[in-house]
């Protein structure tokens, strides 16, 4: 195993330096300026997701059985008069065991904007956001119910508003974070892993492949190449993170803090960033990077194996389209699963090996379970090994002509 790893590192080192120590690497490094455009598209997608999730939110009224029908009637009357239709109203009959409004507001599986409970004249309203339109609507609703019953004028409703102290990040924001993770990993993989398809073409073109095949196991050649390209990818990411941090620092020193605060308070993107993933930021970032590595290795191994079968540059060019489509298909699957956490689709995306890293990163945003990520990383690593193994077998059989490895039925000839 030690020799295997050493061989792998020798190949990786060669590939890494061969890519990085060239002038064209600078062009490669600056290519992400295209990301600005792609980022805008991603932002729009995340926004749409957030909007769709918002549509799935709710307002809750916990009331006596006698008041339920009045609330329903008042809601029907008021809802149409509002300039922007409020979220769906859920009416619950008060019960000592279930009428804690804070607990109701924090129930999983739905996004609760505000909960009303207590007497109609002095209701208690628990809001997710302070001074929200949802809270004001519920106060208005209580007043409307009282007005419908009373013969004369009434004093205004004296509602007692409360905010959720912590843990109040909305599911919409978490889903946006999940989508963001899917998008970033997809984009980086699309930009960086696709290069592996032409990786072995160099060795086949300059005939070095026979030297490698004679000197070291082909598995270590394939893994070494993946590792070399991963090193390039990490360097690339580190460079742009540094650039972003430097840019942010410069901006922060040039702008008025009040302006920054104001921008942060109004920007939807900032609001999303201010949200907290279910597993917390440190773990989310760490596991996100781990999933990027696995996604890169998984898709890179597939591309490397497919590209190794190509005999000419033309064939490699022809392979680019199906490879891109494959990546986009994985992205689409994971984007859909990010908007439907807990669904069968999400479960499928998390289990299917080639979408698993993206889908699991999205899951980390909305689900606080941690142990499942270790399982997922192990599962994905197994698939990396499996893909590399099969790629090598195919390569030996097809390109090097050692078909005994897999066409076992043709081993024996008369």
């Amino acid at each position: 195993m030690k020799a295997f790893l050493r061989n792998m590192i020798v190949v990786a080192r060669r590939d890494f330096l061969a890519i990085v120590a060239t002038p064209t690497f600078l062009l490669f490094l600056l290519a992400p300026l295209f990301m600005v455009g792609m980022g805008l598209a991603g932002g729009m997608g995340a926004s749409q997701l957030a909007d769709s999730a918002r549509g799935a939110g709710r307002l809750v009224v916990v009331a006596d059985q006698a008041d339920i029908e009045d609330f329903r009637t008042a809601d029907a009357r008021l809802r149409t008069a509002m300039p922007r239709e409020p979220a769906m109203l859920v009416l619950r009959v008060a019960h000592p065991a279930t009428d804690d409004p804070v607990a109701v507001a924090r129930e999983k599986g739905s996004d609760t904007y505000a909960v009303l409970s207590g007497p109609l004249a002095t209701p208690r309203i628990v809001e997710r956001e302070p001074d929200s339109s949802a809270g004001r609507y519920l106060a208005l609703l209580a007043g409307e119910v009282l007005r419908a019953r009373a013969a004369g004028p009434l004093p205004p409703v004296a509602a007692k508003f409360e905010n959720l102290s912590r843990g109040g990040t909305s599911i919409a924001a978490q889903q946006s974070l999940g989508f963001g993770a899917v998008f970033v990993i997809f984009l980086l993989t699309l930009l960086l892993a696709g290069q592996t398809v032409s990786s072995l073409a160099e060795e086949k073109g300059n005939k070095v492949i026979e030297i490698l095949a004679a000197a070291v196991p082909l598995e270590s050649v394939f893994l070494g190449k993946l590792l070399g390209f991963l090193g390039v990818a990490v360097l690339f990411i580190a460079f742009w993170i540094m650039m972003a941090l430097a840019g942010g620092f410069v901006a922060a020193t040039q702008m008025d803090p009040a302006q920054i605060a104001a921008a942060g308070g109004t920007s939807k993107a900032m609001a999303t960033l201010a949200a907290t993933p279910a597993v917390g930021w440190p773990f989310f970032l760490g596991i996100g990077f781990a999933y990027f590595v696995l996604s890169f290795l998984l898709l890179g191994a597939v591309f490397l194996g497919v590209g190794a079968q190509a005999a000419t540059v033309r064939e490699i060019q022809m392979l680019s389209l199906p490879i891109t489509i494959f990546q986009v298909a994985m992205f689409s699957l994971c984007a859909a699963s990010a908007s439907a956490p807990g669904s069968g689709l999400a479960a499928f995306a998390q289990i299917f090996p080639f979408s698993s890293p993206l889908a699991m990163a999205a899951r980390a945003a909305t689900d606080d379970a941690v142990g499942v990520h270790l399982l997922a990383l192990g599962w994905q690593a197994i698939w990396v090994a499996l893909v590399v193994y099969l790629s090598v077998r195919l390569f030996r059989a097809g390109v090097l002509g050692g078909r005994r490895d897999w066409r076992f039925w043709k081993r024996k000839r008369a």
């Binding site: 300059n206 005939k207 026979e210 030297i211 004679a214 196991p217």
Partner: protein, 333 residues
């Protein structure tokens, strides 16, 4: 060639006990074509062993199977004391027929890289690379990129790369092709020196001169099969002695012809013919006893080239005859 013919040409050496290469019954199909047919190679440790054959005979495929680069359909290969090829990769140096180097690498780095693949430390690889290149007169291109080198220089760099880690077994596939005579001479010297160091050298070629000068033993492969195995002298002994005789006296050709074997042929003033070893002394006695005298007389073994051509032509003739018989049988059927 029929199996009994191969047995006739196969000279067994009872001392072949310590083998660096033991490949038995290697067979390889490419679709329906049998590229290598039951080829066995037994290379004594510390020897220089040549695999000779015409183009397309199956030399390269045999070497690749021997080294485990491709898997044989039948047969197996054991190296350096009975090990599987994959388990002793680090003790082997290999120069493939199709030369390959990364064009963007500097020569020193390319050699160190090839050494590192076999487990040699990078810095030691660089040091040895410089020493080898200096010794071979390539010191001015030590830090030159491969793409800027001539084909011959690049080939020498690759050769150094295949031996930089001081392997126990060195396999060179057509190492002399593409080299000028000076570099060919340098390569021969290098091969001998590696043998003297204790390495075993197995190389393929279709240039007989190199094989004749270098090989302790050799195998001849033609039409996918091995048809000879033995020393250079044993190969040359497959053909009778060649005699060139020029009489002194001006006598009639018929009179001289009567003295010589029936196949003697007059070319200019000299008679050319072949004789068996046992007929040399009787011939000399007849010439001495005659009054024709001797202006010129040479009796020599045929070169390895002649033995090689003889074997290959026999194989080709046998193959053509077999094909004709098969075609006739098919037509009759």
């Amino acid at each position: 060639m029929a199996p009994q013919d191969e047995r006739k040409y196969c000279v067994k050496d009872p001392l072949l006990t310590d083998l660096a290469v033991e490949a038995l019954g290697l067979t390889k199909y490419y679709e329906a074509f049998k590229a290598v047919d039951d080829v066995s190679l037994q290379v004594p440790t510390g020897s220089i062993y040549g695999v000779l054959g015409p183009n397309g005979a199956g030399k390269t495929t045999s070497l690749r199977m021997t080294l485990g680069i491709i898997d044989p359909d039948e047969g197996e290969s054991r190296l350096l004391g009975g090990h599987k090829p994959q388990s002793v990769r680090h003790r082997i140096g290999y120069l493939p027929e199709e030369r390959g180097l990364y064009p963007g690498m500097k020569a020193r780095e390319a050699i160190a890289f090839m050494g590192a693949l076999r487990g040699l430390d990078w810095s030691e690889g660089r040091r040895r690379a410089a020493a080898f290149m200096t010794e071979l007169g390539l010191e001015r291109v030590i830090d030159e990129k491969i793409r800027k080198m001539s084909k011959g220089m690049a080939q020498m760099v690759q050769l150094i790369g295949s031996i930089v880690h001081a392997p126990d077994l060195i396999v060179l596939d057509e190492p002399f092709s593409g080299l000028d005579p000076v570099n060919q001479e340098r390569l021969e010297t290098l091969v001998r020196r590696e043998r003297d160091r204790g390495a075993t050298i197995l190389f393929s070629t279709h240039v007989m001169a190199h094989a004749e000068r270098l090989c302790d033993r050799l195998a001849i492969i033609a039409r996918s099969q091995r048809h000879f195995e033995g020393t250079v002298d044993e190969a040359r002994a497959l053909l009778p002695m060649q005699v060139r005789y020029t009489p002194r006296a001006e006598v009639g050709a018929d009179a001289v012809a009567a003295l010589l074997p029936a196949d003697a042929e007059l070319r200019g003033e000299a008679w050319h013919f072949a004789i068996d070893d046992r007929d040399v002394e009787p011939l000399l006695s007849r010439i001495t006893a005659s009054h024709f005298g001797v202006t010129g007389l040479s009796i020599s073994r045929p070169a390895l080239h002649d033995a090689f051509v003889h074997i290959v032509r026999q194989v080709d003739a046998s193959f053509t005859a077999d094909a004709a018989v098969e075609a006739g049988e098919e037509a009759a059927a």
